[in-house]
């Protein structure tokens, strides 16, 4: 069985290749639009990739249509049983067009892909993230965009690198400008302590209570979608949930978050969950290890004072 893995960025290709190993494929070929460093090549080799096919970056730069068209030509040439593409936002839109082009069975944002009785089986979150759908992919190739996290990586024999330019035209989208986020980037996915805020806070200024707590214990600040989306009190990169970050800290402290399924999917892998909410019946109650029914505005200042004393700062 041959598997083709691809992704927008080198580290995403490596992550996807490492994931593909779990399927025990006979051969893994990687495809990428961006150049790999020597170190990244060794990591790709460590993930069991024999060959890296470099597609000119101009295809990625022209948008999803051109990227999908180029990948489709490569798939026709290689004839893999399975194509896995890392589910970055661009990866997902490329995969949608690719599936349409190849008329292949496709599961988007799968968190697991397994060998089934006939073909492959993908698992993905549906219905707001509270449910898992098991989807059978009975076509050759089967196609999945995968949202998997990086496993242990190791260095290995550098794969051979081949160039592949299919010389194909597709409707283009021109990038005029990329506006980078202003603030320094936060890596919530790697944070071991997270203080997360929701609609229980009534004003933007009140978030200072959560920020003080976070600073005291060395936690990152996260939030539910309304805080970064509708209200724009915090940057989008702090949004935890279905369309935001998926985090797995040792301790997740949810302040004033009711616990809509879309949020829960982003924090479910936390080791311990502490929540504070005024509503004893909010869904977060059953998703917490310790659920405090209290008014944020009353309990937080007291808790901060106690922590200051106990932590000696």
């Amino acid at each position: 069985m041959k598997v083709l893995v691809a992704g927008e960025k080198p580290e995403q290709v490596i992550t996807t290749a490492n994931y593909a190993k779990s399927l025990n494929p006979a051969q893994v070929v990687a495809a990428a639009f961006k150049p790999f460093t020597e170190n990244e090549l060794a990591m790709l080799g460590g993930a069991g990739v024999e060959k890296l096919i470099h597609i000119p970056e101009k295809y990625l730069a022209s948008g999803a249509a051109a990227s999908a068209a180029a990948l489709a030509e490569l798939v026709k040439k290689l004839d893999p049983a399975l194509v896995l593409i890392y589910a970055s936002k661009k990866g997902v839109e490329i995969c949608g067009r690719l599936a349409q082009r190849l008329d292949a069975a496709y599961a988007s944002e799968a968190f697991a892909v397994e060998k089934g009785e006939k073909g492959f089986v993908a698992k993905r979150l549906v219905l707001g993230g509270g449910y898992v759908a098991t989807v059978s992919l009975n076509s050759k190739p089967a196609l999945a965009s995968v949202k998997v996290s990086a496993s242990e990586t190791s260095q290995g024999m550098k794969p051979a690198v081949e160039e592949f330019d299919p010389g194909i035209d597709a409707p283009a989208v021109e990038v005029l400008e990329t506006i980078k986020p202003e603030k320094t980037r936060v890596d919530l996915e790697k944070a071991s302590l997270i203080v997360s805020v929701g609609r229980g806070f009534k004003k933007k200024e009140d978030l200072s209570l959560a920020e003080e707590l976070a600073k005291l214990i060395g936690a990152e600040i996260g939030c539910s979608r309304p805080i970064s989306g509708d209200l724009k009190w915090l940057e989008e990169e702090r949004h935890i949930g279905l369309s935001g970050k998926r985090v797995r800290p040792n301790l997740y402290i949810a302040l004033g978050i009711s616990g809509q399924v879309q949020h829960l999917v982003g924090m479910r892998d936390s080791k311990t969950v502490i929540a504070v909410n005024i509503d004893p019946n909010a869904p977060m109650a059953t998703e917490s290890d310790y659920y405090f029914v209290a008014d944020l505005y009353k309990i937080l200042p007291l808790t901060i004072e106690i922590l200051k004393k106990k932590l000696g700062s």
């Binding site: 948008g63 999803a64 999908a68 970055s88 936002k89 661009k90 997902v92 839109e93 949608g96 067009r97 599936a99 349409q100 008329d103 292949a104 069975a105 496709y106 988007s108 944002e109 993908a122 549906v126 219905l127 707001g128 993230g129 509270g130 449910y131 759908a133 098991t134 989807v135 059978s136 992919l137 283009a172 990038v175 005029l176 506006i179 980078k180 214990i217 060395g218 979608r225 509708d230 369309s243 040792n250 301790l251 402290i253 809509q260 311990t272 969950v273 502490i274 109650a285 059953t286 917490s288 290890d289 310790y290 405090f292 209290a294 309990i299 007291l302 922590l307 106990k310 932590l311 000696g312």
Partner: protein, 261 residues
């Protein structure tokens, strides 16, 4: 004066959905139906473009049993006409079948369109497929994850949110655009608008009308099972005087924050 098609999916209200206590399957038969959230953002954006530049807004909805009442909501928001295709075979639809059905309706109902607007993903499937697939079927460019849109003469400019920041992009029309929650706040139609919507054209099409057979709508990806996720938590609830709660909260935080200070 762009002609805009908006694709609107009707889904179960996932916020109200409860799993069966034993099988963990979603209890769909008891669920309420609604227009998928992001699709209403797409309708709102289409109406705003029309208000600024003229043109026409056509709503298209396909599914196992499209409810006219929900389509009327989109008309009340300001769309001009609607076409719906209901067929039981669409209950099992995957992204491929949905896109095929939508494309067939669009070709029949509004073949000369300039922009197709969709929500970036649906509330129930969250698959992010419909927009890119439609663009591939019509061989046009698409822009996904759009949170700001400007439509000019035969060209569009869009701001789209990706991991690296906001990409400002441009492409020629016709094009497909998918939008998220941040692009706008869908309007709540007034009573007057709701009444006016009753007179707007809403046409039911059959598979035959749009040149499709049931075989065309066979899913390529077949859903075998849907089950609620279960989390194992201690679920200890603390209630009472806030001074005591604060003490306990501080204790729990210290116990679980690890070695760092």
């Amino acid at each position: 004066m762009p002609d805009i098609v908006v694709c609107v999916k009707q889904t179960v209200d996932v916020y109200q959905l409860k799993p069966h206590p034993e099988t963990l399957a979603p209890q769909l038969s008891q669920a309420q139906w609604k227009n998928s959230d992001f699709d209403l953002n797409a309708v709102e954006e289409a109406v705003r473009i029309k208000e600024k530049s003229g043109g026409k807004v056509v709503v298209v909805s396909v599914g196992p049993e499209v409810k006219q009442l929900l389509v009327r909501e989109c008309l009340a928001m300001g769309a001009d006409e609607a076409y719906i295709l209901s067929d039981p075979s669409l209950a099992q639809a995957d992204g491929a079948a949905t896109a095929k059905a939508l494309a067939a309706v669009i070709k029949t109902a509004s073949p000369k369109w300039d922009i197709i607007l969709c929500g970036e993903a649906s509330l129930d499937q969250n698959a992010y497929q419909t927009g890119p697939r439609l663009a591939e079927i019509f061989n046009v460019p698409h822009v996904s994850y759009v949170n700001k849109l400007e439509v000019g003469d035969r060209v569009l400019k869009a701001w789209r949110a990706v991991e690296d920041g906001v990409e400002v992009v441009s492409c020629s029309l016709p094009a497909v655009v998918t939008v998220g929650l941040e692009i706008n706040t869908p309007r709540l139609p007034s009573l007057l608008m709701i009444r006016a919507a009753q007179k707007k054209p809403l046409k039911e099409l059959s598979l035959n009308d749009v040149g499709l057979t049931k075989d065309d709508l066979m899913p390529r990806a077949e859903t075998l099972e849907v089950k609620a996720l279960k989390t194992e938590r201690r679920r200890q609830v603390f209630e009472g005087k806030v001074e005591e709660l604060a003490e306990k909260l501080a204790e729990r935080i210290i116990a679980h924050m690890g070695g760092r200070r």
